[in-house]
Symmetry: C2
């Protein structure tokens, strides 16, 4: 088969790889029906952590089960499945509490398992999925092609936005501000609206992203950023900060903007991967009772609730996929996102 491989800074290649096969009784092999590129893939792409060897890349995909290992009990060949971006057993103490991203057997697509097996990435024709029962969620039947982008968003981006909104406490009567107008930030707007937030303010300086934020239900847009953005928010809210600020970037400036935008007693819900030197200003947090909650999104336990809404047609984040490409053009997908010509690129096989 073919799959995307990361070779180094801005060097992703579509190349021949061994066909995946069942290696462990808890495995499934999935034929990918759609995949996409994540903002966190861009950190890799830009070479934040250069590899010793090229390795498979990508962790967001949906597909059809081709084959299952002998110990897999909840999935059958032919099932349409959504894969969370992290692999978890579903049975350990942390999974039972809903924190599947801290699973005792946690594994990552494109990484290695404890025995040194290289895991497939999600951007390829086929993927061997370890711990398939704990990881994959099957839809009740086969979806229409038109539903696939909305289902693909459940693999990471929509659920990560939802996790920010839940962690920040978005809900009825609450004013929510979202820092970051990437795909996750836009999904955090959508998730906050779905959770009933009274007012949802999106920080965005790009017309195309403002348009998606508005389509997703943002009530206000602030084009300014940093201290200027926080000041504009306070102006908008009669001098007060937001009840919840959702930090969907992960760098020092975005976290500072989030903390500067929240009201005393409010919460920063954060899901931006803290790779950019993000810091938490503990004295300011202490003085104004600002809570910080969130982290890497445990997608799996959120899926039943969100999947039901997607299948019902009431939840659709597919507008974040503003560029669709054939999978073999994966290098172009990375370049488009890296150069901000695309919010998020969907890859069809």
């Amino acid at each position: 088969m073919h799959a995307a491989m990361w070779y180094g800074t801005r060097d992703v290649r579509w190349e021949e790889r061994p066909d995946p096969a069942i290696q462990l009784p808890t495995d499934a092999v999935v034929r990918v029906v759609a995949a996409c590129v994540c903002g966190s893939d861009l950190w890799t792409y830009r070479g934040a952590r250069p590899p010793a060897d090229p390795h498979p890349i990508g962790h967001e995909f949906v597909g059809v089960v081709e084959e299952t290992g002998a110990a897999v009990s909840t999935l059958n060949a032919g099932d349409f499945v959504i894969s969370p971006f992290s692999i978890s057993d579903g049975t350990c103490a942390h999974c039972r509490r809903g924190v599947t991203t801290s699973c005792a057997q946690l594994q990552w697509y494109g990484g290695r398992d404890r025995d040194g097996r290289v895991l497939d990435g999600g951007q390829g024709r086929y993927v061997r999925v370890p711990l398939a029962d704990g990881t994959l969620v099957a839809t009740p039947g086969l979806p229409d092609t038109g539903q696939i982008p909305a289902l693909l968003a459940l693999s990471d981006v929509l659920v990560t936005g939802h996790h920010a909104a839940v962690s920040g406490g978005a809900g009825p009567g609450r004013t929510v501000a979202v820092v970051g107008d990437g795909a996750v930030g836009l999904c955090a707007v959508l998730a906050s609206v779905r959770l009933g937030a009274e007012r949802v303010i999106a920080f965005s300086s790009h017309a195309d992203r403002q348009e998606v934020a508005t389509r997703f239900g943002a009530t206000d847009i602030i084009a300014a950023r940093g201290d200027e953005g926080a000041a504009a928010l306070h102006d908008l809210l009669a001098g007060e900060g937001a009840d919840a600020v959702l930090e969907c970037v992960g760098n020092k400036q975005s976290m500072a903007q989030a903390v500067a935008s929240v009201r005393p007693g409010g919460t920063v819900g954060y899901v931006g991967v803290p790779l950019g030197g993000a810091e938490l200003p503990i004295q300011k947090m202490f003085d104004d009772n600002i809570a910080v909650a969130g982290g890497v999104a445990p997608v799996r336990p959120y899926l039943p609730e969100l999947l039901a809404d997607v299948l019902a047609g009431t939840l659709d984040a597919s507008a974040v996929f503003d560029l669709h490409l054939p999978m073999e053009e994966v290098a172009q997908a990375y370049a488009a996102m890296d150069e901000r010509r695309s919010i998020k690129t969907l890859l069809w096989p």
Copy 2:
């Protein structure tokens, strides 16, 4: 009158001061019935921030209203009152949301108001209380002398422990661990038990403090601290961390111990004043979805609920006052706490 004045490192003096009088129509003058020394007073005492001029000290007291300004409507001369350690108007947006410590007119005992007036400290014969309606809470009648220590604990220490417990999410079915065996930590144990926590683990290496923690309902005591303490906690909990860890110290080591002791998806509720270089490890928090919530306790809005329990005799933190001294011996009170000969010292006029 006489009151305590802070002159510099380990130099607190009991000396003559002008009698307080009403200066603003929102003031009350209170005759102090009992006061005490706070752990945060010790930071001052030890000279973390040496003063340009000597200033009044102390912020925990109960007393009887002597006189009220013309604009005070909820209090009368003769009322027995509890003062939260911070002064707030009760009417601004933050106060209405219960974050009185971020009040638009926030003032501190022993500090200065915006017009430069020096505020009395709480360790003295009398105190002028600005914004009296927003700040003070009167008891329904005059309490018995025997109730006064338990009422005095409502001025700060018990409510600060309660705030840690609420912020951390202590409640039925939850396992709570408390870092810090000072008076606040011990009160956090008591508050967690009151909130229905299933298991309350106190970190304490001092026999006298272990005894109070046990009396307050701690189910387990761990004498080790730091990484060793966190490891002992994981041993106790079959390899898992606590659902909530209450950080009641405020230095780098104690915060690290708290984060190391909480389970993935759990919360660190913190109330330790972050003066000791405390840091928040954002990458660990992100990876394991550890929330951090709390800050300086907004005592005032908690008082009605907690006061009712104290008056009913079901909530009594007075065991933290293991040394009672006449107020004129305030210097000895500081020395006793500084040298850890006393958990917390109560001062009688």
